[in-house]
């Protein structure tokens, strides 16, 4: 018998990792309820506002507004494209679910930007911070969502707010990474020129580094949006509403129709957001020499107004 236990020492050598985690969670739930409420609060507010706005806009107005936005950002073609995508979304009957999903995605984008961009800036400025942040981001990206779904539910309950929270965890890393990268990639000679003309570190950041890093940061925003959308289905397991919920229900009931409609809706929404943010990234490129108010519908109105004034 001794032989056996020598060859398999794990009979008596073991770390009760699972139990520890559970104990810690129990402890947290019981003692830090206020803290977790405090985290919930801002998410709740933003989510409420965006959902109310998106849901209260009638579909036709929504389509018109977003195609105007598309036109402004990237020209007439983009405007038409936006209109068609959204129209199709309405036709397959998922407008309301799409708006729920959109508000979730936008809320998590909001928090990702609020957290991610400053974090990216900090890690661009200090190698030490970058060294600390990097493995955390790695963990956030590689850890399967299911692993933190359970603790999040234990700490925050179910519903849209914890859904946004897990989405943030999953979608934040590329924004931090790309902000960091964008700032570090600003050419050395521009930095030197700015220093030679007497920039303070703050002026350097706002007048040189951030403007030059904007295309890269916008690529990060785009990635964050896409990841948020892909997280929506998983988040629907903790009873997050919207398109993800449709897909999940469809799978559960083996209702291929329902699942497909939800899936197609998600894809359309993804294409819409992807093209729009890409266009925004390109706008910030140096090659664009017209001011924003000289192009698109705004430019149209401005020109018309000037025309009237000239008469």
């Amino acid at each position: 018998m001794i032989e056996v236990s020598l060859l398999d020492p794990f009979d008596y050598l073991s770390i009760p990792l699972g139990e520890w985690v559970e104990a810690i969670l129990q402890y947290l739930v019981q003692n830090f309820r206020g803290f977790f409420r405090a985290i919930r609060w801002p998410i709740d507010q933003v989510l409420d506002v965006s959902e109310t706005i998106l849901k209260s806009i009638p579909p036709l107005i929504g389509i018109i507004l977003s195609s105007l936005l598309g036109w402004q950002l990237a020209g007439k073609k983009m405007g038409v494209f936006c209109a068609i995508t959204l129209f199709f979304l309405g036709m397959i009957g998922v407008w309301s679910e799409s708006m729920t999903t959109l508000s979730l995605v936008l809320t998590s984008l909001f928090f990702c930007v609020v957290i991610g961009v400053p974090l990216g800036i900090l890690s661009a400025r200090s190698d030490r911070i970058e060294k600390i942040v990097r493995p955390i981001l790695d963990a956030m990206q590689t850890l399967p969502a299911f692993v933190y779904l359970v603790p999040v539910v234990m700490l925050f309950g179910i519903g849209n707010v914890p859904g946004v929270l897990v989405t943030i965890v999953f979608a934040l890393p590329p924004l931090v990474r790309l902000t960091n990268l964008g700032i570090r990639q600003v050419p050395e000679d521009k930095i030197e020129a700015a220093r030679a003309f007497g920039c303070t570190p703050r002026q350097m950041l706002f007048k040189v580094q951030l403007p030059l890093a904007t295309p890269t940061i916008m690529a990060g925003v785009n990635q964050t949006l896409m990841l948020s959308l892909s997280m929506v289905v998983i988040a629907s397991m903790i009873s997050v509403g919207g398109l993800g919920q449709m897909v999940l229900r469809g799978i559960g009931r083996l209702d291929m129709g329902l699942a497909t409609v939800g899936g197609v809706g998600l894809v359309l929404l993804a294409i819409f957001l992807d093209r729009l943010t890409q266009a925004m990234g390109e706008r910030t490129d140096a090659s664009n020499t017209l001011h924003w108010y000289e192009t698109g519908p705004v430019g149209f109105v401005v020109r018309a107004y000037r025309g009237i004034q000239a008469k």
Partner: protein, 392 residues
Amino acid sequence: MTDTTDILSIRNVYKVFGEQPDTAMQMLRNGATKDEIFEKTGQTVGVFDASFSVKKGEIFVIMGLSGSGKSTMVRLLNRLIEPTAGTIELNGKDITGLGDADLLDVRRKEMSMVFQSFALMPHMSVLENAAFGLEISGVDKKERNRRAQEALEQVGLGEHGASYPHQLSGGMQQRVGLARALTNDPTILLMDEAFSALDPLIRYEMQGELIRLQKEQERTIIFISHDLDEAIRIGDRIAIMEGGRVVQIGTPEEIMRNPADDYVETFFKGVDVSKILKAGDVACPTSGCTIRINGSVQPFDSANNDFGYLLDNSDKLQGIVPLTGLDAAQTNVDHLMQQRVDQHAAVYSDDMVKDIVKKVANAEYPVPVIERNGTFCGVISKDRLLQTLSHT
């Protein structure tokens, strides 16, 4: 143009790149060379015991081969690179110990820089780029745009304010770089190989522009170059660097005539001397047979000379006479005056050698060189000219 007050004095400045500059400094004091230090400690000595001063209103060129420490030197002046040791005095005030705020002030008001790579901001229009320095200093928009526009007009880009840098050619971009530096109205302009990225024609044009601007505004310019022709053309004085050391400082002629060592000499090898030397440098004061005529003809020696140069009491040149067949003992002033060559050629001592070649070649006598006030200072024969030009 050049007055003699020193605007910038650099004294015993060292720069060591690396983690332990102290160790390297210790070794330098004990006489180690740059290579030894790099082998033993891995530290690079960028600038080694540099001392020189720049006079107000001059164009001071720092020259040297790649890696000789020119860029490092110029960045020490506005402390983009911190010196490891030594003092740098601007208008008599040491700037090596300045705190952040004072240092920013120096960069904003006293020194502006022009870069080899232009280093314009791609997200700003030409006008915004030119106004960048003032924007940083917090000058309000109207004022800074006005001054930027002025600077753009000085460099001939008044019409391009609304363009973006990528829409301009390299030469135009560097004009914007120059305008950006001029907008701040700095006392000192630092230019690190500012024209090296431009093609020869544009470069020549820009050099002319710089000389013109400097004449108009009497700015002090510190110009880095590895192109000797450029250095000679624009530089009032040149400092030559080798391996982090300043090996010689002087006017182009001084360095040309007395190179401090082989390095400097090789540097000047193959340079077109006719562009550096002036007639006065070449004229041989003892050559040519001078005949002094104050009332009577003073005795002279016509041996070995085919022509004589008649000088009056105050050394002014009165004429040239052929000496063949002339009897020194029997001649008088009137006779000499009749024998003079018609309309003899002469050159001024500050004419560039390149500009007198034709005159010397065409004259049948060695051409006399005179000061602007008419004083005779020597002659240049064809032989002498050829010897000078064949200097390698």
